[in-house]
């Protein structure tokens, strides 16, 4: 007798535009097993699971539940086939109790007795859940419990958990795992998405591996090892030709000492972190999503409160300074949060206006520079649109009957001068913004970085993802920082654009800038960065030289199973020639 699979995927593909997020994926989930879906960031795990849970609809392929082919168009359809998914970002209503959230939208006559029902389900699987507790009073793990019970309440037999451990402490993770085992005992089939190898080894029966949107294979966990899985996940070494120019490392520009930061939920995002960046080096930050990179960036840029510890720029503490002051010290951040337009760019404003975002308060220089006339030839046009009514109309009426061309030219120059002068006056004494310079800068970066846009006045909202990244990075580089923080600068970019970004970073590096590069793709980081710092749950796992390490080592460190800090027994992350405290000299 052949066993019927709880869930079977046949040749599933999904394309976003021309990009294949999933291509020809087939695998199956047996009844009563825990299957781990393993893959690097961007390998298409979540997309695949979203298709099973009804968020997306596959472009190709079939889904079979209990041997029957089904069509899943909405989360409701998925529930009808007893499939439930717990998303990474919870969908809960804050002011409702746990029980209310759990029964919301379920077809039932009244809401009487829900507390008892929820309690009963929670107890059956060993959850510790108070049905009357409001969501806003809950910790992250409690919220996750609510989400899981919500799925169970709808009678799901197949549960999909998307990176459930990313937000949990090790103890909470342990608890979740015991619950998952209890659910397995109850005959539920579970898919857990993760990229933490040790968890895979601990919890799963089988492992399915995805790489770059393709299905690599499926192995029994018991017959496998972390090394084998890493190889499957990472695949053949991709030959990347990213340049890593040799530069002479400068003194430490940015030093972080014993830094502690809290995240939005109030728990520790970064704990006792110490590291430093030298001028002329690229320091990569590797770590799984949510290991505190975001909070670290925000803290350095002055957007997040520092709990304890210090951030020093050229030996001076910058803790407690405003973002503006930090920018003026020469620290630039090009940080792209999950929502690209959420921070850093103002979506409805033009590229020109977005160029001004950081330096709109700067005043023009008081005296005209001699190189003035060498400026862009179309500047005169810009000036006139800049100050309507401000340019004296009277000068237009000068007669140009004889030797028209020359005089016209002279008049033009005169007008431009006058316009410039008025513009400068308005900028210096009336607080007008210098849009002319911003426009020139916009044109400059459009040209240098090959940004595809109809004009400098196009709202950035209409640009594609890659072009947005370029605008963002271009702006940060224009202010000539000596420390540049860049997070996921190539996310969503095609190969050519990515290389352009790497070139830009290398150019900055050669110019002596210290760069903190928060990346996702280990191959890229190994090729581009000089050193790589690995974070796991906000703790430093070690700083390694990119030439002397490999992906496996990094992967183990990211998962927290290799901690170089303990091994070496010496304190890492503190420069010998630290700039903190007096004028410590450096020689290298």
């Amino acid at each position: 007798m052949e066993e019927i699979n709880a869930l079977e995927l046949k040749n599933i593909s999904k394309y976003f535009g021309t990009v294949a997020a999933n291509e020809g994926i087939s695998f199956s989930l047996k009844r009563g097993e825990i299957l781990a879906l393993l893959g690097e960031n961007g390998s298409g795990k979540t997309t695949l699971m979203n298709m099973i849970s009804g968020i997306y609809y596959p472009d190709e392929g079939q889904i079979l539940v209990n041997g029957q082919e089904v069509v899943i168009r909405s989360p409701k359809d998925a529930f009808a086939h007893q499939i439930g998914m717990v998303h990474q970002h919870f969908k809960l209503i804050d002011i409702f109790t746990a029980a209310q959230n759990i029964v919301l939208g379920v077809e039932r006559r009244s809401i009487r007795g829900i507390n008892e029902e929820v309690k009963e389900i929670a107890e059956r699987y060993g959850f510790d859940l108070d049905p009357k507790k409001k969501i806003y009073d809950m910790s992250v793990s409690e919220k996750q419990t609510v989400e899981i019970v919500k799925v169970l309440y709808r009678g799901a037999d197949i549960l999909i958990l998307d990176e459930p451990t990313a937000v949990l402490t090790p103890q909470e993770t342990e608890k979740l795992f015991s619950i998952m085992r209890a659910m397995k005992e109850n005959g539920k089939s579970i898919i857990i998405i993760t990229h933490k190898l040790h968890e895979v080894m601990e919890i799963s029966d089988r492992v399915a591996v995805l790489r770059k949107g393709r299905y690599i294979g499926c192995v029994n966990t018991a017959e496998s090892s972390e090394m084998e899985l890493t190889e499957m996940m990472v695949g053949q070494k991709v030959t990347l030709n990213i340049e890593r120019p040799e530069t002479k490392f400068d003194r430490p520009l940015l030093e972080i000492r014993d830094l502690c930061i809290k995240n939005d939920m109030g728990s520790r995002a970064i704990e006792d972190l110490s590291f430093f960046i030298r001028g002329g080096e690229i320091l990569g930050v590797a770590g799984i999503a949510g290991c505190g990179q975001r909070e670290l960036c925000e803290a350095i840029a002055g957007l997040r409160k520092v709990e304890s510890g210090g951030i020093y720029h050229e030996g001076e503490s910058i803790v407690g300074l405003s973002p503006k002051e930090i920018t003026h010290k020469g620290i630039a951040m090009s940080f792209i949060p999950e929502d690209r337009l959420g921070m850093g760019l103002a979506p409805s404003l033009s590229i020109t206006d977005n160029m001004m975002l950081k330096n709109y308060q700067d005043r023009m220089p008081a005296v005209e520079e001699s190189g003035e006339s060498a400026e862009a030839p179309d500047a005169d046009l810009a000036v006139q649109t800049e100050e309507p009514g401000a340019a004296p109309a009277g000068h237009m009426e000068e007669p140009d009957a004889d030797s028209a061309a020359q005089k016209k030219n002279g008049c033009k120059v005169f007008l431009r001068r006058a316009g410039d002068r008025i513009g400068r006056f308005l900028n210096r004494y009336c607080g007008f913004v210098d849009r002319k310079r911003a426009r020139q800068q916009a044109e400059q970066i459009i040209q240098e970085l090959d940004i595809v846009t109809p004009s400098t006045e196009t709202p950035v909202r209409r640009l594609s993802g890659g072009n947005l990244q370029k605008v963002l990075l271009g702006r940060e580089i224009l202010i000539q920082p000596n420390v540049l923080i860049t997070a996921y600068p190539v996310r969503g970019l095609d190969i050519n654009s990515s290389y352009l970004i790497y070139d830009i970073l290398n150019r900055e590096k050669k110019g002596g800038t210290g760069i903190l590069f928060i990346g996702e793709d280990l191959d890229v980081m190994l090729a581009l960065c000089d050193k790589i710092m690995v974070l796991c749950h906000g703790r430093l796992m070690g700083v390694v030289h990119a030439e002397k390490t490999n992906k496996e080592e990094l992967g183990l460190m990211m998962a927290g199973s290799l901690n170089l800090m303990e091994e070496k027994g010496k304190q890492m992350g503190i420069a010998k020639d630290t700039q903190i405290g007096g004028d410590a000299s450096w020689n290298e």
């Binding site: 989360p75 209503i93 804050d94 002011i95 409702f96 939208g105 379920v106 809401i111």
Partner: protein, 326 residues
């Protein structure tokens, strides 16, 4: 005297109560309807029109039928304007503040015009005030014989009891029923509600229109119950003022219909206070009129300062929901 004052406070307060409960239901669906003053006016216009339709051809009018006709048409007219608001803000996703203000401008103007030109033809006004005094203000049996108890609790017209019943029902509905739960979910986070399979658009439409219909009864109540059926020229202006206060009352009662019963009586008392205190001068009356508004502002500030999650407006109040924006 004091008992009479309390009784009048209740009678005036229910006008607020209608508007307030209507607006609470609307806001719970995530829509701040600034058209409530206009919608209440529409209710007044519709109610008078309905009463007229029945009273004019009838020689010996029946009180019950009169009230029923008035209520029916009041709700119909108010719901019509509510439907326009719902269409513009839910389906067409236009700005709620702007649409609401347009509703108020339209409703107030329309009512003033409609009452003066179409409703108040020859002989209508006497019939209306007859109905107002004898039907709408008919007390419950025992109002006379039970002393102060009767004066406070029994000596009111039908609409007063209707208002309280509606408020209680709304409170029960929001708190204990599945529909109430779904409605609150829609107002808090339409995206989440949508994801669990609640028909967001249907809920928004239903409760905006239902809220408008209830608010419309407030306008009817103002004319037929409190004003004893006397339609004066400025009635739509008066109702407009009451309408804005009803919206304020929603904040005052922290989006709870049960609290709104108490709140509206307090507001009613504050509102009529100036006309009941005989010993003070005319200018002091104006200062007394300020009290309800100042109290509202203080409550608004206090709730935002305390910042307790449950005294806050529905989280997505005022934001239109477009699924594909997610």
């Amino acid at each position: 005297m004091d008992i009479m004052f309390f009784s009048s406070a209740i009678e005036f307060g229910v006008i607020f109560l209608f508007g307030c409960v209507g607006e609470i239901l609307t806001e719970k669906s995530g829509h701040l309807n600034l058209g409530i003053p206009g919608i209440m006016c529409m209710g007044a216009a519709g109610g008078c029109f309905g009463a007229k339709l029945y009273l004019m051809p009838t020689d010996n009018p029946n009180g019950f039928v009169t009230i029923l006709m008035a209520i029916l048409f009041a709700m119909l007219f108010a719901a019509a304007l509510g439907a326009v608001y719902a269409f513009l803000t839910v389906s067409l996703r236009m700005n709620q503040n702007v649409t609401g203000l347009a509703c108020t401008i339209f409703g107030v103007g329309f009512t003033s015009f409609f009452l003066n030109t179409i409703v108040l033809t020859e002989g209508v006004s006497t019939k209306l005030s007859y109905a107002g005094q004898n039907f709408f203000n008919a007390a419950l049996p025992g109002a006379e014989s039970t002393g102060w108890f009767g004066t406070i609790f029994l000596d009111h017209g039908t609409l007063v009891y209707l208002a309280i019943i509606i408020a209680v029902l709304a409170a029960l509905m929001l708190r204990y029923t599945k529909i109430g739960l779904n409605l609150r979910a829609v107002g808090e986070s339409p995206a989440t509600a949508d994801a669990v399979g609640i028909n967001v658009t249907r809920y928004k439409y239903s409760f905006i229109i239902l809220g408008a219909a209830i608010a419309g009864l407030g306008g009817l109540c103002c004319i037929m119950d409190f004003n004893l059926g006397n339609v004066d020229a400025n009635v739509s202006q008066t109702i407009q003022g009451i309408g804005w206060l009803s919206i304020a009352l929603v904040i005052f009662t922290m989006w709870k219909p049960a609290l709104a019963i108490v709140g509206s009586i307090v507001f009613g008392a504050l509102y009529i206070l100036s006309s009941r205190i005989t010993m003070i001068s005319f200018e002091q009356i104006q200062l007394l009129n300020l009290i309800p508004f100042i109290v509202t502002v203080i409550v608004l500030i206090a709730t935002s300062m305390i910042g307790h999650r449950e005294t806050q407006p529905p989280a997505s109040l005022g934001l239109s929901y477009f699924r594909e924006d997610r």
